[in-house]
Amino acid sequence: MADTGAQTEAGASAFTTFIESQPGASGGVSHHHALALQVQYDLQYQHDWTAIKLHTHSGTSTSSGAGLLPRPLLSGLPAHHVYIHPDEQADILKQGLTEKDVSVEEEWVLPTHLRERWTLRRFAEVFDAIEEAPPEREAQRGPTERKSYQRTRKRGKRLLMAVVNDDSTIVYYIIHDGIVKPRQN
């Protein structure tokens, strides 16, 4: 990531231009920040996420003040559902609704690189630093929703772990805090 600037002369790639355009990106960014930007780019252009935001500070009231997050996190609104709890899936079917009738939830995203090694302690630190849902955006949810499904469950803490490989492949895994039964797809 360090030499992304070198490409600019010979016509910058779309991704390089994207990084340059980010606020605070000029003059080099940290490794973690660059990783987050790469994931952000993928989410925005590959997966059509909206309202993507980079978080560097913890918003939890429990941790003393707004501490620095262990590493930058992203939040955003997916184009489709990333996760619906199995109980809710069953509920939706019972009510004769489809998953389209459920409002899409904002998700946390944790950018990581495949060659990193994580520990339980570090996962716990990340989860302890976040709220269940990312901080509320300005209310801009469209009033278009038809017959919508009322969520019955408390949303647990979860995040989407983005694992970046050297060939810029990014895979996404949902991590739940605690024991959460699997979905029956």
Partner: protein, 326 residues
């Protein structure tokens, strides 16, 4: 399951036999204890006994039941069981046994064999008598259809023969040839020999080991045991997870009725986890409608519960990983 609620509770604490050669293994030999544990304490273990003639058998296994070290330790910690060194206990008890006791035991085995042989002969005789009675009835009914009766009776006799052959498979006497016209001779009862009984366990011979002979708790990796106990306390059933490349398969109920929910792995709080393992586990788990669970003993400072008492103030953190589908 509910129907058998009245089944007996074994005398507590019951012995768990330990054998240790290359690895320590923990066995239970009493079917009564095993069913009780499964029903009341969610302890599954693995049945490992094969038939002596089919040592490569790998389905429909029977006694004994091998316990995972975590299971053995949990049972001991809960005061339900204690661990006995099987080899030492047997050698010691056999050495102390008197000649008379050995003789009495051999006699009891012989009596058992005779009773079995008697029962088996009676059963096969009853079966062939019934077959002959049926044939006689048939002959009187179908007197006019002579040609067909002949073929009927032949099959009937064959059936009777087969039945007898099946029952007397283990009988030392060769089955007599049955002539189609006269019933089998009753002489077999008189010159009957006994079956030789091979006991499958020694608990009739040996007294229950005294609880004073108990051994130490199984030594298990701390994080592994903590995760096992945590999930067990949450009323999950755990079985070994090698088939799915994990430590434990975690079932929400008895595995005979439920699919497992999680593929569980334990790790120390600061043990490094390769992200490729996490990705592989998550992908495999989601492919079989399960979730990959990683957990261990928390060592974070904000632990405000009682410290020093093992197992009480310990907090286990778990994380479940599923494929994101994008």
């Amino acid at each position: 399951m509910e129907a058998s609620l009245g089944s007996p509770v074994p005398t507590l604490p019951f012995p768990i036999s330990r054998t240790s050669y290359a690895v320590e293994r923990y066995f239970l030999f009493s079917a009564e204890t095993i069913t009780w544990l499964r029903r009341e304490h969610h302890i599954l273990g693995v049945l490992v006994g094969t038939l002596a003639q089919v040592p490569q058998q790998n389905v429909f296994l029977g006694l004994p039941l091998q316990l995972q070290p975590e299971e053995a330790r949990l049972l001991v910690e809960q005061g339900l069981a204690f661990i006995v060194d099987d080899f030492q206990w047997h050698r010691k008890t056999y050495d102390e046994m008197t000649k008379e006791e050995k003789k009495a035991y051999k006699a009891s085995l012989r009596q058992e064999g005779e009773a079995l042989a008697r029962a088996s002969t009676q059963k096969s005789q009853k079966a062939s008598e019934q077959a002959f009675r049926r044939r006689a009835q048939q002959q009187s009914q179908d007197g006019d259809r002579a040609s067909r009766t002949d073929s009927y009776s032949t099959t009937e006799i064959l059936d009777a023969d087969n039945e007898e052959a099946g029952d007397s498979l283990f009988s030392p006497t060769t089955p007599e040839t049955v002539s189609p016209l006269c019933p089998p001779s009753r002489t077999s009862l008189t010159h009957m020999t006994s079956y030789s009984v091979t006991p499958t366990s020694s608990y009739q011979l040996l007294p229950t080991p005294p609880t004073t002979s108990r051994l130490d708790l199984p030594t298990i990796k701390h994080s592994s045991y903590a995760l096992f106990r945590h999930l067990h306390n949450e009323n999950y059933f755990l079985s070994p997870g090698l088939r799915f490349g994990c430590q434990f398969l975690v079932y929400p109920g008895d595995p005979l009725r439920f699919h497992s929910h999680f593929l569980a792995m334990s790790a120390d709080w600061d043990e490094e986890i390769d992200l490729l393992d996490l990705v592989g586990g998550g992908r495999l788990g989601t492919g079989v409608k399960k979730s990959w669970l990683i957990g261990g003993l928390s060592e974070s400072e904000n632990k405000d519960r009682g410290i020093g008492n093992p197992g009480v103030g310990e907090e286990v953190r778990t994380f479940c990983i599923e494929w994101g589908g994008m």
